[in-house]
């Protein structure tokens, strides 16, 4: 049963890392707008032909 001394911290550590990822995602705005991305998904495939860096103007 002494494995619990390792298993318990590991379990909590896993939960903690998932929590940190979730908090990061929230703060990065991943959950701000839940309506548009499902719509955007419908036509994202066709947008690939114009990658953002192609459209970036020359600096200056």
């Amino acid at each position: 049963m002494s494995v619990i001394f390792i298993a318990l911290p590991v379990a909590i550590g896993l939960a903690l890392s998932a929590l940190l990822v979730f908090i990061w995602a929230t703060r990065a705005g991943q959950f701000d707008d839940l309506d548009t991305p499902p719509l955007r998904m419908l036509h994202d495939a066709t947008a690939r032909d114009a990658a953002p860096h192609d459209r970036t103007p020359p600096a200056g």
């Binding site: 909590i12 419908l42 459209r55 103007p57």
Partner: protein
């Protein structure tokens, strides 16, 4: 289009046709483009410009979806009052504008624009393709639900005005998105809520790990070292859950205690505090019960319930945002040299001269210096009749200039204008409104008292047996009495009810609306647009048919709204477009063979005069006709006299038609009453509502409408009500009467009243500002949704009560066990999820089926929806007085 044409390198046939001289261009039945000659067929089947359009048309046709074409063609006409191509958006390039709305990101600029007319996935696609439409735009990201696009562009390559014109050419009229700070605050609040839920969820899940192990140890025994590890781990997790996400409840309870109001946070915080303290003490002592698994799950579930509820609610700041949108954000200022320049509204000063073209909104309060037009002031006054505007007359910002360009001297701008003061009025009214004490919160006060009394009784009862066990049992009672299910009941039921309502086209802003509406009170209805359709229509006609045709031909030249309504209605029987327009060329079809020949048209402020088929025709207000016929003094025939009197009785706008010096016909125009108004009013009264009518229209119109709908004599009918009058009436009734005061309206002039009333309901087709100020927005035409909403709130409250009873029963059971000393953490841990699941199951049972279910609930209610057409907007309107007399 055949592929061979393209491979051969020749231009597609469509491109060559517009220049080809064809007397009548044939348009594609699907896309509306001109059909190239090679694609035309000889029969009178629909014609298509290419094979693709033909295929799509046949698919639509075969599926029975022809309505698509009607919907597609119907929509732009209503929405587009201003031709977007007409505007330069030069004010977007003004430095003041950039400073206020744009921010720099390296060499690029970023700005948020609010767009009108964003509806569907295709809109997202189209708008986010803006970088291809306008070179120099780097990125366009649309927030679909709010219709706000976030733009990033290179100011060296393209000015913002060019981008704005690009958006306008796509059909989305842009305006700067104000209230960015409020939106950000709201967003941050939602993010914090999510993080709290995440922490609470992680804690709840992990508190279960040691808890389950310890429950196993209850039966099989456990090594003390392992047990103390598990207890310490539980405590660590539990303390995090209580101190971080759980702090919400402590803050809520503290605020409620300070203001001495009942709030459900008080018993929750009490249980969390006592449970947490007892758990920490018992962990340190190494003996006694700890309850951290139950407490962490409790925090998690309650936070989820609240999040579901708030996610459904909209932020209050949207109100003012929408009111700001009423006034244009730029004005066309006249410079000293006579040229015009577009300036942002902030740059406009009193004393400036501005030009306002037909169809544009007036930017500031002022006085007309030159020009003659008519003003649609319904936004401020609710008066559906247009007001003639002549030099010297005062005009208000936000009203619409209807048919000719006028020059206006600006007297005041921004917040000092009437619409600006209205904005402040709405803000104040919304602030003043006292929040309702929800049923669950009213119970909470009694609940706390009962729990403390029971805990004290338990302590005293067990004291004689053993002081230590007495304390343990009292603590267990306080923890098990935590109203978890009680706290979930309201948010869950409300979230479910709001979701169900939204699917039926009733958008509800907050849960308290349902609680307020569950008891009948007084409902005040606005006339224009709520009980009526809100536009001018021909409701009465007495006169011969050929005069009717001549009048239609003459009025086709009129730009006056009354004239336009008349022309549309009169020409309905004829072929309206081609016959009424003699300038279109020689008659082409047999219906046009008899097209009247209109010459010498003279437009006056209150009438129109011209020669039609050789007769001199006058159409206008009675005083206009009398002025022209003064020499001959043509007497009004008896039949016409009676019909004019009938029109006056119904408070219709009367128009006389005279030909060659004789009055030959009388027309009555007015705002048609909705077919479902009278049944809805009866049904509301059956449900116990007292009614009232508040209108900005002339009192005679208001009274006549009320009489036709069937208002009773004791129900207040108030006409000529300004926005301030409406607000005062609402406030007077709120002070004088018991029960909720509900305001139903659609206009900006109702916004303050909507915000002040216990419940403000905005109806479909209303102004954006009224939608934002209201608590409920009805997305379906007609008054039927109001009945549904009333039914829904009754059912929701019934469901909430059921949930409360169930959760109180669980609490009672738990408290009895604790008082008897039979409670242990395992029983608590099992009871809590069961009680929450019960509440969840009960809450999801709120239902809203208009006819089928309501019969089972209350006998009167079943009649009401059945009497109404299900889609009132589509149904034929059979009211006999609405049909023109032959």
């Amino acid at each position: 289009m055949p592929a061979s044409t393209l491979t051969a390198g020749s231009p597609p046939p469509r491109a060559s046709t517009p220049s080809a001289p064809h007397s009548a261009a044939i348009h594609c039945a699907h896309c509306g483009l001109t059909v190239p000659p090679g694609q035309r067929t000889a029969d009178d089947q629909p014609q298509f410009c290419c094979a693709g359009c033909r295929a799509i048309h046949h698919v639509i046709h075969d599926c029975g979806l022809e309505a698509y074409y009607h919907l597609r063609d119907a929509q732009p006409g209503e929405a587009a009052r201003i031709d977007p191509h007409d505007r330069s958006y030069a004010e977007f390039d003004n430095p003041a504008f950039s400073q206020r709305y744009c921010r720099a990101e390296g060499p690029l600029l970023r700005c948020e624009l609010a767009l009108s007319g964003v509806h569907c996935a295709a809109c997202v696609w189209l708008i986010e393709r803006l970088p291809r439409v306008v070179p120099g735009v780097i990125e366009a990201r649309l927030e679909w639900a709010r219709g706000i696009v976030s733009l990033s562009w290179d100011p060296q390559r393209v000015p913002l005005s060019r981008i704005a014109r690009g958006l306008a050419s796509l059909g989305y009229e842009p305006r700067p998105a104000r209230g960015g700070a409020d939106r950000e605050a709201h967003r941050d609040m939602e993010r914090r809520q999510l993080v709290r839920i995440a922490v609470a969820g992680a804690c709840a899940g992990n508190a279960m790990l040691p808890a389950v192990a310890m429950y196993g140890g209850l039966f099989s025994g456990m090594d003390p070292v392992h047990e103390s590890l598990l207890r310490w781990a539980s405590m660590a997790i539990g303390v995090v859950a209580l101190a971080w996400p759980g702090a919400t409840f402590f803050r809520g309870a503290w605020a409620a205690l300070r203001t001495r109001t009942g709030h459900l946070d008080v018993p929750i915080a009490l249980a969390l505090l006592i449970g947490g303290t007892a758990g920490v003490v018992n962990t340190l002592r190494g003996i006694g019960e700890i309850y951290f698994d139950s407490l962490t799950v409790l925090v998690f579930l309650l936070l989820v319930g609240r999040f579901l509820q708030t996610r459904r609610q909209r932020s209050a700041s949207e109100t003012l945002e929408a009111l700001f949108a009423l006034t244009p954000h730029s004005a066309r200022r006249l410079r000293a040299d006579g040229a015009t320049e577009d300036v942002p509204l902030d740059g406009l000063l009193p004393g400036d001269l501005v030009e306002v073209r037909a169809g544009e909104t007036i930017p500031a309060d002022g006085r007309i210096v030159s020009g003659e037009s008519a003003i649609d002031a319904s936004i401020l006054t609710g008066e559906s009749r247009p007001v003639p505007a002549i030099a010297g007359q005062g005009v208000h910002a936000g009203t619409l200039n209807l048919h000719a360009a006028v020059r206006i001297e600006v007297l005041c701008t921004g917040e000092e204008t009437r619409v600006g003061r209205l904005t402040q009025l709405v803000a104040r009214a919304a602030q003043r409104r006292a929040p309702i004490v929800l049923l669950a919160d009213r119970i909470a006060g009694w609940f706390v008292a009962a729990v403390i009394v029971l805990a004290a009784a338990t302590l005293l009862g067990w004291w004689s047996v053993s002081p230590v066990r007495a304390a343990d049992h009292a603590v267990a009672l306080l923890i098990i009495a935590c109203p978890c299910a009680l706290g979930l009941a309201t948010p869950l039921t409300v979230a479910v009810a709001i979701g169900r309502a939204a699917r039926r086209g009733i958008l509800i802003k907050g849960g308290d609306v349902l609680e307020r509406l569950s008891r009948p009170g007084r409902m005040l209805l606005d006339k224009t647009g709520t009980l009526t359709h809100g536009r001018f229509e021909l409701l009465h006609w007495t006169g011969p048919d050929d005069s009717r045709r001549r009048a239609a031909a003459l009025e086709a030249h009129s730009a006056h709204p009354v004239g336009r309504a008349l022309a549309e209605a009169l020409a309905e029987n004829d072929d309206p477009l081609e016959c009424a327009n003699p300038g279109a060329g020689p008659p082409q079809s047999r219906t046009c063979a008899a097209a009247p020949d209109v010459t010498c048209v003279e437009q006056h402020a209150d009438g129109i005069r011209g020669r039609v088929d050789g007769r001199e025709v006058l159409i206008g207000a009675p005083r206009f006709i009398r002025r022209w016929l003064s020499e001959s003094e043509a007497p009004l025939p008896d039949a016409l006299h009676r019909s004019a009197a009938a029109c006056a009785e119904r408070a219709l706008t009367t128009v006389w038609i005279a030909e060659d010096g004789c009055v030959v016909a009388v027309a009555g125009l007015g705002d048609r009453i909705r077919a479902d108004a009278a049944p809805a009013v009866r049904a509301l009264r059956d449900r116990g509502w007292r009614l009232g009518l508040l209108s900005g229209d002339h009192p005679s119109v208001a009274t006549a409408t009320a009489a036709q709908i069937g208002f009773r004599a004791d129900e207040p009918v108030i006409g000529s009500a300004s926005p301030e009058d409406k607000l005062h009436e609402i406030e007077r009734l709120m002070a004088a009467e018991r029960g909720p005061i509900v305001m139903v309206g659609d206009g900006v002039n109702d916004a303050a009243a909507l915000a002040a009333a216990h419940v403000g309901v905005a109806v479909r087709g209303g102004a954006e500002a009224s939608l934002a100020a209201a608590d409920v927005y009805l997305n379906r035409a007609g008054l039927e949704p109001i009945l549904e909403m009333s039914e829904l709130s009754v059912r929701t409250m019934r469901s909430i009560r059921r949930c409360l009873v169930a959760s109180l029963a669980y609490n009672l059971f738990g408290v009895s066990l604790a008082a008897a000393g039979w409670l242990n953490p395992l029983i608590a841990a099992i009871m809590m999820p069961i009680s929450s699941l019960t509440v969840l199951a009960l809450a999801s049972r709120v239902n809203l089926h208009p006819v089928a279910d309501s019969s089972a609930v209350s006998p009167q209610a079943s009649e009401a929806p059945a009497m109404l057409p299900v889609h009132a907007g589509r149904a034929p309107e059979p009211s006999p007085e609405a049909l023109p007399c032959p």
